[in-house]
Every structure is written in C-alpha cells, then in structure tokens.
C-alpha cells in the first residue's frame, strides 16, 4: 500500500481545520471514479452504546440545522462527480432518524436529487431513472433506531422515497441490551416494523448481535426466533466485536467483562446458519441473510470493490483505488464547505487492490467468478496468491465449482485464515 505522504501526515485527530489536510475535491483530482453509490453519515445519537466505535455523539448544541444545510451543499457539489444516477444511497450513523422530521426530509431529498433520482417522491425498485431508460433497481436505505420510528418518521421516510430501513435490534433480551449499554426498548421493534409497513416500506433489515457477554445458546435462539417472527426481508447477524477505544473493549481489558467462549460463539453462528436456512433465508455474505433477492445492494457495491461517495463527518469513500475518510469531527466538517476535509487517504497500489478484491469478494457466500479470479491472478503477485489458493483448496478451506471460487461453508468462521494469505 502506498499512501500519499503529505496527505497521510495530516492525519492528526483533533487537529485544527485547514492546515495541511486536503479536501475531497483535491484528492479526487485526476481520478476517474464511476460512483455507483453514496453513503451519508449522520453523527447524532441520543446515547452512546458501549460497543460502538462509529463517530456519533449526543449533540448538546443542536447543530442539526447547520448539519443539514452543509449536507445540502455537499450533495449539490457531489452530483457533478456522478456520471450516471446512483444505484444506492445509504444513510447511516449515528442515528439518522434522530434528525427532526423536517430536517430528515430535507436531507433525504438533497441526497435523492444528488443521486440523479429527481425530486419526486418515489424511488421504488425497478423504477425508471431520470433519463427514462430502465436501470438497476434503486435502493434507498436509512438506518433507524427502533425507538425513533414514530408514525411521523415512518411517513417522512416513505414520502422521501426511502425503500429500505435497517434497524438496530441487536437483541430482544433486556439484560443483553444492558450488557451492550443499549437503551432502546425491545418492544419498540415490532411497533416500528408495523409503522414502516403501514407506510409501504417492506424491505426491512434487522441487525442482531450474538456472543454478547453473558449470553447463552438459548438466548441466541430466542433472539433469532423473535426476529423471524417479524418476517424481515433481511437479517444481519454479527458476532460481537470488541472494537479498540470503546468502553466495552476497555472493560474487557480490565476484566470487568468476560467474552464468551470461542466454541460457544461458533455454535451460535452455526445455529444462525441452520435456523435461518430452514426459515427460508439465503445466506449471501458472512454476516448477512436475505429473503429471496432482497440483498443489500448498497453493501454489494462495497464487496464488489466498487466506487462510492462519502457524505458527512467520518464517512469513508472509494474512488478507483483511492480510499479516503472525511474528517471525523462535526465542527471541522461543517467548516469545510462544500468539500469535506480528508483525514486519511490511501492511494492503493495495484497489488493492494488485488488483495482487497479477494478480501471483499470472498466474503460473499457464492464467492467469486473464476473468470474474475483469473483476471486478478494475472496481476502482479499472481503466483503467490495462486499458491495460497492451491493450499487452501487442498486443506479444504476454499472450494471451487465449475464457475466459482468460494470459502467452504464450514470454514466461514475461520475465513480470515484464508483471506490473510491472499492479501
């Protein structure tokens, strides 16, 4: 990996705005990205969960309006970079649904316009794009905290053309939510789902977390069943990650929190695989399941190593081998208008890009097309990777079919052991 020296040296957290940090506009100069998606980060939360390492905080100053004005100008600027209407827009956080309804509506509408979807209301799947030609179904996702989905919020989302909502449930057990220091009430989940459906938003994802300290296999089974009862179109199940610099991580360091046994965690994962399979959900990525074809189009852009634009503080983007991250500080981001200042930027050498393509592509349960693999192996470092693939095939960690290469299903939980050899 070769990072741009002057740029990365500017990566000082909390450093004053301006100084040596470049803007997104500057780092994209000369690059020829073909953006397929946009991610927008809303950094507000009503409370900070203990496992969370996203840039989010409880804003005591109420800068929501300034945030939205700034977002609108960034959306206008970004539109100029898009060659075609985007396939997907994903609004995450933080808690986007914390924005007051009128401000939420303004944000969503700015993003829609910028994406080339026009100012109209509907952005449903299979709809015609601005130029009138039929295109990929468009996906417009907003993350929501179940507590925040009031009838009004549900209506604003629907009226703004949002066709997918991703909800952080994590668990339906109060004691496990407590272990994560998550404050929502589990009973609000079915209510939120119902409100969204009443507004015609049927593509709903539920996030679940397993391997929470203190949890048992039975707890996890109950969580899976509770989620299935709501018949979501999509489920993400994550083994809890102790992210550095989170209170949970610290509490593990000090021994205040005891992670569950590796074997138990593995059993939980296997339980999710079998339970969801028999409930008719297709496993399509290490931590993701969908009913029918309702996969998350947005995330598929990531795993396909595609290009996407990043809005908002701390958001990351990718433009043909250039990975960047916006300043993770609301003040700095508000001041750099319309182009965000950049905190970290990497200009990937071809070897690193090849490595990333494997790292991301093999996360999909279906794996990668052999033709794509061959293409990647023709790049520098091909011999080394070919040997690693041969070894993983013979030890049974990888599998090859007529047309695809993939991680063997029993090896999904140890996939990093293979992926790291392909970097």
């Amino acid at each position: 990996m070769a990072s741009l020296p002057i740029l990365s040296s500017a990566a000082r957290p909390g450093a004053a705005a301006g100084a040596a940090r470049p803007t997104v506009e500057r780092i994209l100069q000369g690059a020829r990205p073909s953006f397929r998606a946009a991610y927008a980060h809303v950094p507000f939360c009503s409370h900070k969960c203990h496992y969370c390492d996203f840039y989010s905080f409880v804003d005591s100053e109420d800068r929501q309006e300034r945030f939205v004005i700034r977002m609108e100008s960034e959306c206008r600027a970004a539109a100029a970079l898009y060659q075609a209407p985007l396939q997907s827009v994903f609004v995450g956080g933080g808690t986007p649904t914390m924005l007051r309804p009128n401000l939420l509506a303004r944000t969503l509408s700015a993003l829609r316009e910028s994406a080339g979807w026009g100012a109209g209301v509907s952005a449903g799947p299979g709809e015609q794009n601005a130029s009138g030609t039929s295109s990929q179904p468009r996906e417009f996702t907003v993350e929501a905290n179940p507590d925040t989905v009031t009838e009004e919020v549900a209506r604003v989302l629907a009226e703004s053309g949002v066709n997918r909502v991703s909800m952080g449930c994590q668990s339906f057990h109060p004691h496990l939510l407590k272990a994560l220091e998550r404050t929502h009430n589990p009973e609000s989940v079915p209510l939120a789902v119902e409100r969204l459906r009443n507004q015609g938003i049927n593509n709903i994802n539920l996030d679940l977390i397993f391997a929470i300290p203190g949890s048992s296999l039975a707890d996890w089974e109950a969580d899976l069943q509770a989620a299935l009862k709501l018949e979501p179109s999509h489920l993400s199940c994550y083994g809890l990650v102790y992210e550095p610099n989170t209170p949970l991580f610290l509490r593990r360091q000090t021994g205040a929190v005891l992670p569950i046994e590796e074997d138990l965690e593995a059993s939980m994962y296997e339980l999710a695989r079998s339970t969801l399979a028999s409930a008719g959900y297709g496993h399509y990525e290490i931590s993701n399941w969908s009913r029918g074809e309702q996969r998350c189009q947005h995330n598929l852009v990531y795993w396909d190593n595609g290009d996407w634009f990043a809005h908002g503080p701390s958001a990351s983007g990718h433009a043909s081998g250039i990975r960047w991250k916006n300043v993770p500080r609301l003040t700095d981001w508000l001041e750099s208008d319309p182009w965000s200042l950049v905190q970290d930027v990497e200009s990937l050498a071809s070897d690193a890009r090849t490595g990333e393509a494997f790292m991301l592509g093999l996360r999909l349960i279906g794996g990668m097309e052999l033709s794509r693999v061959a293409e990647l192996l023709a790049q520098p470092g091909g011999a080394r990777r070919e040997a690693a693939i041969a070894e993983a095939l013979s030890s049974g960690l990888l599998e090859r079919s007529e047309s695809r290469l993939r991680i063997a299903p029993h090896a999904l939980l140890v996939s990093d052991s293979v992926l790291c050899t392909l970097l």
């Binding site: 991610y39 990531y302 990718h318 490595g355 140890v414 996939s415 790291c420």
Partner: protein, 641 residues
C-alpha cells in the same frame, strides 16, 4: 570445554566460618607493623548492597577536597549509566586522595566495591590490592548476608577491618543494636564501631583519621624487581584496555617494556594514570601505589586479572599469588527479537547485530562467556554464562542499551556434569546437549552453601522453603534477639528458579542471602522433553529433579496451551521422560477467526488487521504443522510459575 573447578572458598574462610559457628572471636589484631614506605593506605569499602558504600566514598572525596562542592554529585564513582540509574555499583573503581593526619600527609588509595552477591569477584579483586577495608553497615538494616560474606572475604585475605555504622541520621537508626550484631556475628568489638552518616558527613573526619591510624601501612618491597598485581581491567573506547595495577615491589615508569608473567605477553607502557578522581597522567608508580596503565591492548581477553606485571628487561623470579577467575554459574540464551517487539524501537533485531553487541560487550566484561547457539524454535543466538542472575540481567540490559539490539532471553539454567558409562564425564549448559540417556551413568549438579539472614519469626517458613527445594539443613544461629542466620546446602538450580523472590516475600523484604558453590553432587535428575503434536521441541526441554518433573511439566504445558494460538486442527502437547508421557494437554481446533463486519468504512482498517495477521504468521516458528510465536516461546521459557 574441559570441566572447571568451582570457585573455591579460600581456606581461611572456611575455618572462620567454623569458628564462627562455635561463637569464638575470629578477628586477629593487626599484623606486625612493617617498616613504613611512604605514608600510604590502601583500602576497599565493602558492605551489603545499599548500605552506603558509594555515598561514603562521595564524602571521602569531599572531606579530602578531591572533589569540590561544585563538582560533587551523588555516587560520584558510579559512572556507568546503568549504575546511576539502578543506584547500584557494578564495577569497582579505585581513587587516590590525600589526608593530613597529625601533621603528616597520607596518600589514601581506595576502592568502592559493589555489594551485590553476583559481583563478589569484583570485591575479592579489590581486596587483593589492599591492606585494609572499611566495612559499612546500615544502622537501620543491621548485619546482612553480604556484610558477612564480604567481611569473611576481607579477613580471609588478611585485611584489617574498620567497622563503620552508617546512616545514623535516620530516625530508625539503632547503632547500639547493630554494633552488638557486629560483635556477635563477626567478632569485631562493638566499641570499635565508628558511627557515621555518609549523608550528612558526620564522623567522616574521624574515619579518615582512623584509616591513617589503624590500617596497616603497605609492606615494603621484598625484591627490587617490579611486581605489580593486575586487579582489574576495563575497556575504554579511546584508549583500549586500561589495566589497574597495585605495585607490590619495585616501580613502574611510562615507556617501560613490561611482561605479564602469567600469559608471557610483553607490552610497552604508553601511559600511566591515577584517579583523583579525575584522570591524572603520572610518569611513574612507586611501591604500594595504585594506578592504571595503557599499553595498546585491544581486547580484555588479552589481559588476565590476577596476573603479575614485571619488567621485561629485569623480570621477577616469582609471580604474586593471584586468584582464580570467577566461574559462570548461570546460563541462558540470547536471541535477536524478531518483528513485533523491535518495531519502532530503532534497535537491530538480527543475529549479526547481536553478535557485534555481544563481542563488544565482552571486551568490557570478560566475566560472561558466550557461544553460538542454534535453536529450531528461536533461530541463531548465543548461549551465555554469567556469575549470577543479576549479572545476567545486567548483561542483557547493556546489550540492549550499549549494543543497540533487542534481545529475548531464555530462562536461566545451571551447568551440569554428566558422568558417562564409559567412565568419562562432560559438562553441559543446556538440556538439549544431554547425551543419549543410555550413555548416562549420573547427572551431577552444582550445590551451594546458602546463608540467609532473616527475622526470627520467618525461620519456620524459610526452613520449609529450603526443604521443599531439596535443601540440607546445616546450622542456625543468632545475629540478635530478633534475627537469625540460617545455613543450608541447596542445589543452585533451585535458587535460580524463583528462590530469591520467595525469600523476599516470606520475609517481607527483610531477608537477605548469600551463596557460594561448594561442589557438584549427583541427584535423581532427569531430562523432560516437551512434544508439540509428537514433535520434540528441544528449546523447551529441561533438566529437573524426578520428583518435581510432573509439576514442572504441567506448568510448562499449561503455559504453552495458553500461548499457542488455535490452529485448524487439534494440537496435542505432551511432556515425556525417555519414552514415557508424564503430562499432557491439548489445544482445541480453531473455531473462529473472522471479520464479522466489513463495510465501506472498515475496508482499510480490516485489511491492515489481516496484513498484521499475515505478518505475524510469517514470523512464527514452525514445529511440524504448528506455528508458535517467539513471544509464546519466551513466555514459556520465562522464569517462575
């Protein structure tokens, strides 16, 4: 390597100890006074560690106006970085000052010595250049193990002692009780103890007077031919080897061609210096004087401490009685640290870097030995021999600091004599070097005479500790009403295995100990092999007593289980004696190594984490199919349980 004799105790010392056991007074008055040469007094300052030798030396320098207020700094003679940082003396150093007593000018040559047991050889070298010694005892600590050991060394060498009770400025000082201990344990009259504070300077002038008055003058020459004792040598980056001499007979001038009587080497003296304590160039050294010479010697290996220097043109017939070189008792391996640990320290972590550092340090400290070692687990490194555990520590620290390398160190072991069935015997320093068990008739290990001084209430616990460590009780006697001396014979291997820490914790820091190798003795010692998935790992094998083999093996396997990462398959860990398995453990197959979340904002970070995992794998050592990190080896090889 031919078997060497253990460092022997001087005969008179043994006698003294025996007498002491029976409570007889042991110190004879000064020997017959001899025709005085110039008014010279040569003495060493000896004590238990931290009782204030170096601080007392500071006061002597100041009271004799050798160092002005402005130049003074604490522990002036401790010049090594490490000495100043740790607040301990490692190298003895010799200085010359002047004092006027009863209108006469006295030249005082004195040597500050280290107090730690590992550096006892430095003390005995220093003593060989002196007629007297100041025995410093901390008035808050009383007589301690190295007080006794060093006092024996001095008396054994025929030196006159001045007992000095130090730190009397402290509120906890109890000089009367300490004087009684000195009388009780060492047989020096309590009333002869001088009370001083090396901090405030109280009693220092009296001490200077007493030195002039009580310490014997050096004996006059017995021959007019030059005989000078090499009592120390050190390496100086600019001048090469500096040789410290005490002239016993004749005189030495710059430009003289000298001969080392032991090695037969001849050299030209290019410069003579004395320390005042600033280096002062002089033209000659006379009988009884102390100083140093340079003679274009490039390595310390060319100088034997204890050798006699004479003139090449007019050599003496007989060398001065020298003394034996100290023997290395504790051994461990040093390997270059790979990856991780040395990242970002700017230190070298390759074998060549380590080799340079070891060779350079050896020029400075010839008392450790080294030989190239290869371990399948840790690669190329050096097996080194040391005088004791602190010495080992200091060498490692100096390698890192002065040599700029990052090293990892294996747990210390002792040397063993292996008697073979064919009647010969070999010495080994490493369990991996043990011959085929079928050829072994007996394994002998070093035994020490251990002397512990401790509070009376801890005696029971310490006896239990020593017994558990295969000790043989010898004697027990009083230092005072509240403290006792406990004598044991104990295998050295038991001492280097976590003994000192146990002693300190049992006595809450009040216990002190001293030991000396007395012999090698046979015991039921066995070699324990450690197997990882049926592959023996030599680097982890150990020699231990049969009765503790299970316990030790289990400890190692447990540590190993925690240290080896799970693999795709289950790993069997076993310990065996010969072909018999005596302990086992297993590491379950890896169940989880996955990046649960990898979305847009995670890609760079997750890729870096995977890269780290990949780099970590590369650095690992392969034992069969099993990868073990160097850190894991080190954790297992590390001391203690």
């Amino acid at each position: 390597m031919p078997p060497r004799r253990p460092r022997s105790l001087l005969q008179p010392q043994l006698q003294l100890r025996n007498e002491l056991t029976y409570g007889a007074p042991i110190l004879s008055p000064a020997r017959t006074p001899i025709l005085a040469a110039v008014q010279i007094r040569n003495f060493s300052i000896i004590a238990h560690i931290d009782h204030g030798k170096s601080t007392l030396a500071d006061r002597l320098l100041q009271a004799t106006h050798a160092v002005s207020e402005r130049q003074a700094r604490a522990q002036f003679l401790d010049s090594m970085d490490l000495e100043r940082e740790r607040g301990i003396t490692i190298k003895a150093s010799a200085v010359t000052v002047h004092h006027t007593f009863k209108g006469e000018d006295f030249e005082l040559n004195f040597i500050d010595t280290p107090g730690h047991v590992d550096f006892a050889y430095e003390v005995s070298r220093a003593l060989s250049a002196c007629e007297g010694a100041i025995l410093v005892v901390d008035s808050t600590q009383g007589v301690q193990a190295q007080t006794v050991a060093n006092a024996y060394l001095a008396v054994g060498g025929g030196l006159e002692l001045i007992p000095v009770i130090n730190k009397i400025d402290l509120p906890a000082a109890d000089p009367d009780a300490v004087a009684m201990e000195i009388e009780q344990v060492l047989g020096l009259a309590a009333e002869d103890c001088l009370l001083v504070s090396a901090k405030s300077g109280q009693g220092i002038n009296e001490l200077l007077d007493l030195i002039c008055q009580k310490l014997p003058a050096p004996r006059p020459s017995v021959t007019d031919k030059l005989r000078a004792l090499v009592f120390d040598a050190k390496y100086d980056d600019y001048r090469g080897v500096v040789v410290y001499l005490r002239i016993f007979d004749g005189k030495l001038r710059t430009g003289d061609r000298i001969r080392m009587m032991g090695t037969g080497r001849t050299l030209s003296v290019t410069e003579i210096n004395r320390y005042t304590p600033f280096t002062e160039r002089v033209k000659e050294l006379n009988t009884a004087q102390v100083g140093s010479i340079c003679a274009s010697i490039r390595t310390l290996a060319d100088v034997r401490v204890g050798d006699t220097v004479t003139l090449d043109s007019d050599p003496a017939d007989e060398a001065l009685p020298g003394y034996e070189e100290p023997m290395q008792m504790v051994f461990c391996d040093f390997y270059p640290a790979t990856g991780g640990e040395s990242e970002g320290t700017g230190k070298r972590a390759d074998f060549e870097g380590l080799r340079e550092a070891v060779e350079k340090l050896h020029i400075n400290d010839a008392s450790f030995t080294f030989e190239v070692q290869h371990s399948e687990a840790l690669g190329f490194g050096f097996r080194c021999g040391f005088l004791g555990l602190l010495h080992m520590d200091i060498v490692q620290e100096r390698l890192e600091r002065e040599g700029g390398v990052e090293v990892v160190q294996t747990a210390p072991t002792v040397s063993y004599f292996i008697d073979l069935t064919d009647g010969t015997s070999i010495e080994i320093h490493n369990p991996a070097d043990l011959p085929d068990p079928a050829r072994i008739k007996a394994i002998r290990e070093p035994i020490v005479k251990l002397e512990i001084i401790c509070p009376t209430e801890n005696i029971g616990d310490l006896i239990r500790l020593c017994d558990a460590r295969r000790g043989t009780f010898k004697t027990q006697r009083f230092v005072s009403e509240t403290r006792q001396i406990l004598d044991y014979e104990l295998p050295l291997a038991e001492i280097i295995y976590d003994f000192y820490d146990k002693l300190k914790s049992i006595t809450r820091g009040y216990g002190t100990m001293d030991y000396d190798i007395i012999c090698y003795r046979e015991d039921r010692l066995v070699k324990v092999n450690i197997l990882v998935n049926n592959e023996p790992v030599e680097a982890l094998s150990l020699i231990c007593h049969r009765d503790s083999a299970e316990q030790r093996s289990r400890n190692i396997l447990t540590k190993l289980r925690k240290q080896i990462d799970r693999h795709q398959f289950e790993i069997a860990l076993q310990a065996s004696i010969g072909g018999r398995i005596i302990a086992r453990e297993s590491i379950k197959a890896m169940r989880k190594n996955v990046t649960a979340k990898c979305y847009g904002g995670d890609v760079s970070r997750k890729r870096k984490l995977l890269e780290k995992q990949k780099a970590g794998k590369k650095r690992m050592k392969q034992i069969g199919q099993v990868s073990i990190s160097q850190e894991a080896f080190m954790a297992v090889l590390d001391q203690g349980d």
